[in-house]
Symmetry: C2
Subunit: 267 residues, 2 copies
């Protein structure tokens, strides 16, 4: 089964939503995005391709989000399994909001300078404050992620910045910190912003082995030791923390947002 995500924009909405729908089904599918389909000719060309695939006996399914009625009609006619993702909901929501839908409004929305800047600033901030490289800007941080090396700090920092425009710093806890009593001095002024990540020692061993095989750094014993120490710090200092072993970056980020009551800096 071949699944197309077709859109006059990035097709990200069709992709995210369509993929979520498909995740309810235990089927193997091939996915392909068709973004920026904005002309009648492109629509006809795409339908021609669909028909050829149908004639070859390939099953295809199309999720689309298209504003232009003429183009939408062509896509709908091209496949018996074409789903207009906005189709059924637009009317009731018009009613709920009490204003008519304006297809053109969406394009205008595509890019809000302010929003864009807040996200890019946050990404640059996350990069500049990754892995404790620069601790002098911790006061700017909305959240400071703690954890041992390879427990998920950096991807989570970048995801929070990219998706939500949240200024995220992260600080790697290591043996120096384990040796000293209480929190590292640089973190003490920022207690309310601290959030800990932890991970199953065996999983950490796997990840570190992929990076530096047969090293002390990657040894099961070292991984166990570091995780024991870091979780002890979280408990002693009453720092909220999360085990990332079975979570995707999206799941980690949204759990952190919820627990720390962070609000996106973008519309």
């Amino acid at each position: 089964m071949k699944i197309y995500f077709v859109s006059d924009g990035t097709a990200i909405t069709a992709e995210v939503f369509g993929s979520a729908m498909l995740s309810f089904f235990d089927v193997n599918v091939e996915k392909e995005s068709v973004p920026f389909l904005t002309t009648v000719d492109q629509a006809r060309g795409f339908c021609k391709q669909l028909q050829e695939e149908d004639e070859r006996g390939d099953n295809t399914l199309v999720f689309f989000t298209i504003s232009d009625p003429e183009i939408r009609a062509i896509i709908e006619s091209g496949n018996s399994h074409s789903y207009n993702l906005f189709g059924d909901l637009l009317a009731p929501i018009e009613k709920a909001l009490g204003v008519p839908a304006q297809p053109q409004a969406q394009k205008a929305h595509g890019m809000k300078q302010g929003v864009y800047d807040s996200r890019i600033d946050a990404v640059n901030y996350a990069l500049a404050n990754d892995d404790g490289v620069s601790i002098k800007h911790f006061d700017e941080a909305e959240i400071i992620l703690l954890g041992v090396s390879r427990s998920g700090k950096t991807p989570t920092s970048l995801y929070l910045a990219m998706q939500y425009g949240i200024k995220t710093a992260n600080y790697p806890l290591n043996e120096d910190d384990f040796a000293s009593v209480g929190l590292p001095a640089v973190l003490r002024p920022h207690r309310a912003k601290l959030y800990g990540l932890t991970i199953d020692p065996n999983r950490l061993h796997e990840i570190r082995t992929g990076r530096m095989a047969a090293s002390k750094y990657a040894s099961p014993r070292q991984c166990r030791y570091e995780i024991d120490e870091v979780e002890a710090i979280y408990r002693q200092e009453r720092i909220p923390f999360l085990n990332t072993t079975h979570l995707s970056v999206e799941e980690i980020s949204t759990k952190v947002m919820a627990e720390m009551h962070l609000r996106r800096n973008r519309s």
Copy 2:
């Protein structure tokens, strides 16, 4: 108008889809995500909150994606404007795929180790190969983004890695490169992977001023000069390129994916 995105998972699907729907309407709304709503008690608590807001005369609208029928029923009963985002489409898609929807399948999907790793690897690769800091791994890159400082290389690299698991390097073109003839030697072996970013000089001036006001680096003249030079290189060397001035990171990334025929390394 207050909009809630409610889910038994991250709520990202509800958020992306709901926000796309709302972008058709020229209304100011306050958005709030309610992720990981997985119990009847949580659902009742949320509905209670909705009712209080209704009584205060606040308008609320709820987009939700919930697998459990009992919890779903509670959410649906809680608000006259609750929209089950999967509701209308699941049945037809069951028919199209010829297999029944399995709510539980989704959770299993939540996190695929292989997929996760490919994305984290790609993010780590993008970080290690950001801004030309390490050119020795260019042969591993699926794409190498070119551009002057602040033209959007880094956020695009990270987005491509995070969202699509694509190993993206980037190389900043600067005066040394403008002075020399032809492509920088380090790029020549990778011609097929090169993609250029450019930006309106005035916008570049704005961005650089925010970073280093009243510097030569940020001066309108320097920005114009660098953009002229970089676009000349793209044209001479027949490197495909894109103007990022009015595009979001998502739009840049999906256009690059489409033009370079890149395929996501994740399901």
